[in-house]
């Protein structure tokens, strides 16, 4: 185990010992503690409809049929995230038919702002996601957003499975 990992475990043990198990003799208000600031961005991805029904109208300009719903990507840790790539999967397999960039798929959520190069701390981005097709037979859709934090650490966030209802 790396030294850094051992040190973390030791710190946790020491902390637990300090807490003790006895009841304090004099009741007092516990001291207010500020949780340590997060250093890593965290993205939570949600879908408006899940499962999403198959619709016969409105999917895109020339293929009206398909499964589509709104996706919201929310940064929750208060740390900026730099998105780089978008991967979209159908039934767990990367879909070549949905190979497109993060910048052309995602945009501002209602009333918000959008910077294709950054999801700000506590910020959110939105998109319509899914697949337009009259013939596709997939049953799940999933997206992944890869990027880095401001220090260059590579991170990937994966959405829940979006269930595509039978036609």
């Amino acid at each position: 185990m790396p030294i850094r990992g051992l040190a973390s475990i030791a710190a946790v043990l020491v902390c637990a010992a300090c807490g003790g198990s006895g009841t304090p003799s004099t009741p007092s208000t516990p001291p207010t503690t500020t949780p340590p600031a997060a250093t890593t961005p965290a993205l939570t991805i949600t879908f408006t409809d899940n499962p999403v029904p198959y619709k016969t109208t409105g999917c895109n300009g020339s293929t009206p049929q398909g499964w589509y719903t709104d996706a919201r990507v929310q940064e929750t840790a208060g740390v900026a995230f730099i998105p780089k790539t978008l991967t979209q999967k159908l039934d767990g397999v990367v879909a070549d038919s949905l190979a497109e960039s993060y910048a052309s798929r995602f945009g501002a959520c209602a009333g918000g702002m959008f910077d294709p190069a950054l999801i700000p701390p506590k910020g959110a981005v939105c998109a319509v996601v899914g697949i337009c097709s009259a013939t596709q037979t997939a049953s799940t859709y999933q997206l992944q957003i890869s990027g880095t934090d401001l220090s260059g650490q590579v991170l990937t966030f994966t959405s829940p499975l979006l269930q595509l209802s039978p036609r």
Binding site: G61, S62, S104, G107, G130, C132
Partner: protein, 488 residues
């Protein structure tokens, strides 16, 4: 007790009110449509433009004419053709040639609303609809109308509809000339025509127009089964243009008629081809001839409902005038997309399976009418608030940040061999008059620019219409270019 006049507004307030009123009037006038003629073209506010009209013969009786005219403008028409003396009423002209005051006020209201909507109005007179009215008294009526309507820059007069038909519509050349000179004496600037029906050939209409010194040749095209096809349209318009005046295709085939049988009139396809070929052949204007707005005494009270009642050809045709398109890249897999729907960059990585409408653009020929190869066009983004823009006018990036149409937002659309831009055509987009073409780097799947000085595959896009469009075959489906349609 109040002193008399105590709460009268101070003088400066009156001045402000008057300044506001004057400013409002000035604004209205400044934004009005001023119709003129430049050579063999109509011009609006000094800019030559192919004009697309729609018949609203019964506008005088339309209970919601303001809403109707707003709809007409919203759909993309440039003007309407109104018959103020139609026998469905109210009728403008009395049998003694006088103008009925209430009906004149009604006509003024229509023209005012049209002006607010930036619409041109073809005011066509039909003396046969007033029993007992003869040509001499019609002259009095039209001269009076010319006098009363002198302040309107957005109208033209047709002195008599189909004056060459040998029935109660007939008006001799001498009588037409007499009315024309009468109108000129009252309002020398009024644009006047007198329409001829296809009982005489277009050459006759052109000669007639020239002999009488009328401003444009108004002709109603032949009611033959192939009336909408290029050879017919072209031959008619060539004959009309021989006099050097604007060729105004004032009545296309009617969409329906209770009295007579007409061929090739029941699908929007015929009308879509006809208007496109009219523009291609050099016509100055073209009018969609529907009876949806003829007799408001029966049927729905709003034009929108009347048009919707006939999905073909009416509703399909009127929804074709502001086309929406997608642009497929050379790899056949990708489409242009405005990031965020507009207001940011433009990429070329939409796919056929991608949901959403950020790849759907509006396209407008700046010269009016359907899009023809060589036209300058503007492309609106899906957010409805931006235009595609060649940064710096070309030689740089393609953005979707234009807020209005200027030189950077103007592109010249071209296709090999020229002609009408059809669904599925391979086209290029060049930044205005520059040598710079829009390109999808790598043929699609990535970024875009306006930095190519020659047109090869990366600079070639398949254009697909997502609004009603002609299904006339694309004329240049060349080998090697993408042809599969899906997506946007």
């Amino acid at each position: 007790m109040r002193i008399r006049g105590e709460h009268r507004a101070p003088r400066w307030a009156h001045v402000c009110v008057w300044l506001f009123v004057c400013a409002a009037i000035a604004t209205t006038d400044a934004s009005a449509q001023r119709l003129s003629i430049q050579g063999d073209r109509f011009a609006v506010d000094g800019v030559p433009r192919f004009l697309t009209f729609m018949t609203m013969f019964g506008a005088m009786g339309a209970p919601n004419v303001a809403a109707d005219l707003h709809l007409v403008r919203t759909l993309g028409f440039d003007g309407v053709r109104v018959w103020p003396n139609l026998d469905t009423g109210p009728q403008l002209v009395a049998s003694d040639g006088s103008l009925r005051p209430a009906e004149l006020a009604r006509l003024r209201f229509i023209l005012d609303q049209a002006k607010l909507e930036h619409l041109i109005v073809d005011v066509t007179f039909t003396y046969e609809h007033t029993p007992g009215l003869d040509a001499a008294h019609e002259r009095i009526a039209v001269m009076a109308a010319a006098n009363e309507l002198r302040s309107y820059d957005n109208i033209l007069f047709d002195l008599q509809n189909e004056r060459n038909v040998q029935d109660r519509r007939f008006m001799s050349e001498g009588n037409v000339a007499s009315i024309a000179s009468g109108v000129r004496s009252v309002d020398a600037a009024r644009i006047i025509v007198a329409s001829n029906s296809p009982v005489d050939p277009p050459e006759y209409a052109a000669d007639f127009t020239a002999r009488l010194g009328l401003d444009a040749t108004a002709y109603h095209e032949p009611r033959v089964s192939n009336w909408y096809q290029l050879p017919i349209v072209q031959s008619v318009i060539n004959a009309m243009r021989a006099n050097g005046r604007p060729a105004y295709m004032q009545e296309s085939m009617t969409t329906r008629d209770d009295l007579y049988f007409y061929p090739s009139h029941d699908r929007a396809e015929y009308f879509l081809q006809a208007i496109a070929y009219a523009k291609l052949s050099g016509a100055a204007g073209w009018c969609f001839h529907t009876d949806a707005a003829v007799d408001y005494r029966k049927g729905p009270a709003f034009l929108e409902d009347r048009l919707k009642a006939d999905p073909e050809p009416e509703w399909a045709f009127v929804n074709s005038l502001k086309p929406k398109i997608v642009l497929q890249t050379a790899n056949g897999r990708n489409f242009l997309v405005a990031e965020g729907g507009g207001g940011a960059g433009v990429r070329a990585d939409r796919t056929a399976a991608s949901p959403g409408n950020w790849g759907v653009f509006g396209i407008e020929a700046l010269s009016g009418g359907p899009v023809i190869s060589g036209d300058k066009v503007a492309l609106t983004t899906p957010d409805g608030a931006h235009y595609l823009q060649a940064t710096g006018g070309g030689g740089s990036s393609l953005r979707a940040e234009g807020k209005s149409v200027g030189s950077w937002e103007t592109f010249r659309i071209e296709k090999a061999g020229g002609g009408v831009i059809h669904d599925g055509d391979a086209v290029t987009l060049r930044a205005n008059d520059s040598p710079w073409y829009v390109a999808a780097e790598g043929g699609g799947g990535g970024t875009t620019n306006v930095g190519s000085s020659s047109a090869a595959s990366w600079e070639t896009f398949r254009i697909f219409f997502v609004t009603p469009h002609s299904t006339d075959a694309a004329s240049d489906r060349s080998a090697g270019a993408p042809a599969k349609r899906e997506g946007g």
